[in-house]
């Protein structure tokens, strides 16, 4: 998916987060967004994902030559972020089946088990994921973000809380998706930046 940001800015009440950002992200590349803490990296990612609307400027999305409306974005975006919360009263398997059901995907128990194993999570645990470590939850978020093969993958600090195996799995996902999708990473982590093809900086 081609993403075009045209002179976008964001204000919350009277506080300006950032102004006049213009950039483009295209399939086959990984775009990095860097900036100081509080500069608005996460806000920008939310705007790109259609969760927030920009205060000024406009966003445009093109997929296979067709313009995509903001209302359709939810089905085309995979999103990983520390502030994204899973349904913690359900087990990993139940969460996976719930996500698949809402997305209208067919997912057998065997498929779900295989998906969990692939990301390094135990497929036989039945306890609610509130008992999981933050690293395990992060792995689940990565799995949920890519299970519907989205053309736009937005990653906000994708390797936070992950151990070395988890980091390897996360970068494996980035490398897999960079071939077919547009990947945008908001980060200040040197490892994440090394996986980006192009960097833009956000300043207040």
């Amino acid at each position: 998916m081609r993403v075009l940001a045209n002179n976008i800015g964001k204000k919350f009440n009277r506080r300006t987060i950032f102004t006049a950002l213009t950039f483009e992200a295209v399939p086959g590349e990984v775009l990095g967004i860097v900036g100081k803490n509080g500069s608005g990296k996460s806000t920008l990612l939310r705007i790109i994902g259609g969760i927030l609307s920009p205060s000024t400027g406009s966003m445009q999305y093109m997929l296979k030559g067709r313009s995509v409306h903001r209302d359709e974005l939810y089905s085309m975006v995979g999103y990983v972020a520390p502030y994204l919360t899973l349904y913690e009263e359900f087990s990993a398997m139940e969460n996976l089946q719930l996500y698949a059901r809402i997305r209208g995907m067919r997912l057998s128990r065997d498929d779900a088990r295989e998906s969990l194993s692939r990301i390094g999570l135990p497929s036989d645990r039945r306890d609610p994921i509130r008992a999981y470590s933050s690293g395990m939850k992060q792995r689940m978020k990565l799995l949920f973000a890519v299970m519907h093969r989205p053309p736009l993958l937005l990653l906000d600090e994708p390797v936070s809380n992950l151990d070395s195996d988890g980091v390897e799995a996360a970068y494996g996902i980035v490398d897999e998706f960079r071939r077919q999708s547009t990947v945008i990473i908001a980060t200040n982590d040197a490892g994440d930046i090394a996986h980006c093809d192009r960097i833009i900086s956000v300043e207040a």
Partner: protein, 221 residues
Amino acid sequence: MLRQALAIFRKDLESELRTRYAVNALLMFVVVTISVIVFSLAGEVLTIGAMTGMLWVVMFFAAMSGLSRVFVAEEERGTAMTLQLLASPMAVYLGKLLFNIVLVLGLNALIVVLFLLTMEQFTIRQADMFAVVMLFGGLGIATSTTIIAAIIARANTKGTLFPVLAFPVLLPLLMAGISGTNIAVEGGTWNSVWPDLQLLGSYIVVVTTVSFMLFDFVWKD
């Protein structure tokens, strides 16, 4: 969209059965309120108008204490954004509305049963008419409280704001509901209850239509 809505409804139902966020609060409220009414009456005989008025007061405040949970819980647990990324706004609204309809109809049925068991003077002469008024009343409460819950979910003072916003919106429904219930309890004719049913039906259609139009703006930034 309907499949997504049903999946969200099922998610809410399973989550509620597991966490009992709304159900426990509602059950406690209903039992305590009806107990207080029974003890405070101490055998005093009330008019039918007063009885049906009290029935609707209990139903209104029970709805106020639990129906906002559908959206407030998503905000408090931080899963609202997850849901925004998973489903279309219309599917979210429809799923939440379905859940509130099931909750309010079950709750109202329980309140009526408890009223019948604890208050000797409360007898229903036109049971089928009473059921229709309760069904329309329940649907009206669910439709209006669902959109109001979505509006107040992000506010800091959501507990106070919910009944304050809901009361003026629900006032026409309460008046028609109380009037229709009076007629059913007294054993009136279908002709006499028809204007109330028309008002309740129109209310449901108008609120549902407005909700569908508004929800996109309420749900997203």
